[in-house]
Amino acid sequence: MKKSLNIKTNLPAVFTILVLLLLWELLCRTTAIPEFILPSPSAIIYSLTTNYTLITSHAITTMIAVAGGLVLAVTVALLAALAMDRWLLIKRALFPLLVISQAVPIFALAPLMLIWFGVGLAPKIFIVALVCFFPLAVSLVEGLDQVNPEEIELMQIMQAGSWMIMQQVKFPSALPYFFSGLKIAATYSVLGAIIGEWLGARSGLGIYMLRAKNSFQTSDVFASIIIVVILSLLLFKAVEIAGFVVMPWRREKDLTVED
């Protein structure tokens, strides 16, 4: 994917979506499908516009958990990756745990998080962090491994310490990997927050979905799905922009890592 994601390259996707929406609308209007089974796109848009303020307030709750979880995941992943890169023993001790953290079924663990940490913001942040940690940590570790050994040798010849080598060579060369991981993490993060809310919360998009579903208002369920998709896309885009800003030397090339 090129960084120059402009209107021209997005056009086919926009066209496909519009055609699908049109077919969907026609299907709903020509057949007698009840709205509580499949609402038409126009009913969904109507629901979005009428419930705009309500959805926004729920979305804010969810995004606070998402932001908290992402920050926590990035912090821990960064610390873990730096430590693993510095000391081989730590890498041997921790890397299998990374894989385990991803293998743990989140649906089984999340209710326990609530039992341990209560029903406040903390367990949601932990769930988001748990979901996001693995792609971040693995991509960072891999990125730090992939650095050109000749550049390190050059730095060593110039009497650079290990921290200096990390700052000047290893970390910058790992950044593209990090941003690839962050993109994956960002798209998972909203889902993580919603899983947390399903299990126990006072507000949030997960709660909005449950309330809509349980009072048989299917068009509101679809409205919240659209909001979740939009938020995930915005997060994805934000990561791309952050990558563009942080890595000026890569602006001429692809932003993603080829592997």
């Binding site: 609530l114 990390m166 126990g200």
Partner: protein
């Protein structure tokens, strides 16, 4: 300063801000912060609680009540003290007691079981005998199978002729139209919704078919620790809650409004109709709202035991108390 150090500092300051935000929830000094967990989305079963909240009954008792939706883990969290009170149902309390969770039912929200088996009128399911050759859509729990079997046994019908499919969280009204012939619903919510949609239902009420199945659902629960350590708080909570349900009984329209204030996502028409339907069922013929009968607890526990759904009888006297209703 290098980019790496900058990023590290930025991350840590963000983390710090996050921690501050999550810790700085304003708590009025004079009110006690109490948490209540709901076992489902806000609905008319909980109207008394939302009414008490909106009318300031809890505040008058010195309680600031936080209501959280936590379907699936209410009893675990009440048992571990993560929450003070919760909404559950008799069956769940019995299973929890048998697993040594120190939870106690302190009020029956609705005096009788309003659930039963619903089907579209045109499928002709008028009694459990008609379940033969039909398909049931449910959550796939053993209690459902035992319940269907018990009802059919009363008519000498063959339970093995029923096809059971798991439909999970799918809306029951869709299930009975598309995936199956009958489903287990709460009439006060799903049945009322069907009425509003103009869907004609046959409804087989559980309690009319089998007396033991007239169990309490929902109930308000709390932990043994709270009852023993701070019974006065339980008293104050229940005073306010009782007043709230009194309002829901006497003035369903206002109670519906209070519920909608707290859950504006809900369907207004459904809430109003459901509230009107439930108003005289919260207390029914009981002396006071919330009262639980030992026979009801015993009969359903015995039924569970007879159907091999539990291995031993729970200690009924520890499972519920009428100490906090008056």
């Amino acid at each position: 300063m290098s980019k790496l150090s900058k990023i590290c500092i930025a991350l840590f300051s963000l983390l710090l801000i996050m921690m501050l935000i999550s810790c700085s929830a304003p708590a009025p000094q004079d009110l006690e912060q109490i948490t209540l967990l709901l076992d489902w989305t806000p609905n008319t079963n909980y109207s008394g609680i939302f009414s008490a909240l909106e009318e300031g009954y809890y505040e008058a008792e010195g309680i600031e009540l936080e209501v959280i939706e936590a379907p699936g883990s209410v009893l675990q969290m009440v048992a571990t003290g993560q929450a003070h009170f919760g909404i559950s149902y008799q069956e769940e309390v019995i299973f929890a007691r048998l697993s040594d969770l120190p939870v106690v039912s302190i009020a029956a929200v609705i005096q009788h079981n309003t659930s039963g088996f619903a089907s579209l009128k045109e499928r002709g399911i008028e009694s459990p005998a008609d379940f033969e050759g039909k398909r049931y859509g449910g959550w796939g729990s053993p209690v459902e199978e035992a319940t269907i079997k018990a009802l059919m046994d009363n008519y000498g019908s063959d339970y093995n002729q029923v096809d059971i499919v798991t439909t999970g969280e799918v809306d029951s009204l869709i299930v009975i139209e598309r995936d199956a012939d009958f489903a287990w619903i709460y009439y006060g919510w799903t049945g009322v919704e069907a009425e509003l949609k103009g869907i004609d239902l046959n409804f087989i009420e559980l309690r009319l078919e089998e007396e033991a199945l007239d169990y309490y659902t929902p109930v308000i629960v709390t932990g043994e620790d709270l009852i023993n350590g701070n019974p006065e708080l339980v008293d104050r909570f229940m005073n306010a809650t009782e007043k709230g349900y009194r309002l829901a009984i006497d003035d369903p329209a206002t109670a519906a409004r209070h519920l909608l204030t707290n859950a504006p996502e809900l369907n207004n028409d459904l809430v109003s109709a459901s509230q009107a339907w439930l108003a005289d069922k919260y207390q029914a013929e009981a002396e006071i709202w919330g009262l639980q009968d030992k026979d009801t607890w015993e009969a359903y526990s015995k039924w569970l035991l007879e159907n091999n759904l539990i291995e031993t009888m729970p200690d009924i006297n520890k499972a519920f108390t009428n100490r906090f209703v008056r």
